[in-house]
């Protein structure tokens, strides 16, 4: 089983820990995990995880977008905290056509609702939508619950 974790702009502090955590947890579940990010988010991951304990494979978000095809991954997990992140997630979803989870978060409740609506109206992806910015815990709690459901499937 292969999973792709999609990161957006690294400006949201919660994104990096959630990216590392998602990669770790999915790896524990037996997924071969690849993290797709822009260069800035990638550098943060490289410095946070210098020996690649949590992130085993990393690719550039635009290069990856150009090369992926339907069937390449079984699960897509994306951080959606900006308008651009929503469009990238939706585009990856439409190419891969696999099971997908959008982790929608922002410090602003209206943005959470707006981005969740963008994902919901354009995909059949599962959505976790929560207010979070500095503290990644609200996302982690919901993500753990989702993974439990995924394991039971």
């Amino acid at each position: 089983m292969k999973a792709l974790v999609l990161l957006g702009c690294p400006e949201a502090p919660s994104q990096t820990p959630i990216g590392l955590y998602a990669s770790y947890k999915l790896g524990q579940m037996g997924y071969d995990v690849t993290v797709s990010s822009n260069p800035a988010a990638g550098k943060i991951l490289d410095i946070s995880d210098p020996e690649g304990v949590y992130v085993k494979k990393r690719v550039d978000i635009e290069k990856c977008l150009d090369e992926i095809e339907e069937g390449d991954y079984d699960l897509l997990v994306g951080c959606v905290h900006k308008d651009a992140a929503a469009t990238f997630f939706i585009t990856y979803y439409h190419i891969l056509k696999c099971k997908a989870l959008a982790l929608v978060f922002s410090r602003d409740a209206e943005e959470v609702a707006e981005f969740a609506d963008m994902v919901e109206s354009s995909t059949d992806a599962d959505i976790i939508a929560v207010r979070a910015f500095h503290n990644p815990n609200p996302i982690k709690v919901r993500f753990d619950k989702y993974l439990k459901t995924l394991e039971e499937e």
């Binding site: 822009n38 651009a84 469009t87 354009s122």
Partner: protein, 102 residues
């Protein structure tokens, strides 16, 4: 045709930026307001060899007389831009053929 939009934008000055660092929906509106003809594609479809990023259905504008197309261009940190770039007459027909009829 292999086409890297980013390289094109860096190496040429014959394109027009209608709006940049914006939201995707605002960019779609500008394309719809500024193009004489609109077709639609799905996210990930390749226009001029570049995958378009966005919400379905993605509008692509065609101004045949000016020999240009209007597309969106999204970067993770900088949001979405709407740009108008030159296109050959034969490529215009290829773009028209991509219309999903939305």
């Amino acid at each position: 045709m292999s086409f890297c939009l980013e390289t094109y934008l860096q190496q040429n000055d014959d394109y027009k930026i209608l709006i940049q660092r914006s939201g995707v929906k605002q960019c779609y509106k500008l394309i719809e307001d500024n193009a004489k003809e609109i077709i639609h594609v799905n996210p990930g479809d390749k226009v001029l060899g570049a995958r378009l990023i966005g919400l379905p259905p993605i509008p692509v504008g065609i101004n045949e007389e000016e020999g240009t197309i209007l597309i969106t261009y999204t970067k993770p940190c900088h949001g979405t831009a709407a740009i108008e770039i030159p296109i050959s007459q034969e490529e215009i027909q290829n773009v028209r053929d991509m219309d999903i009829g939305a």
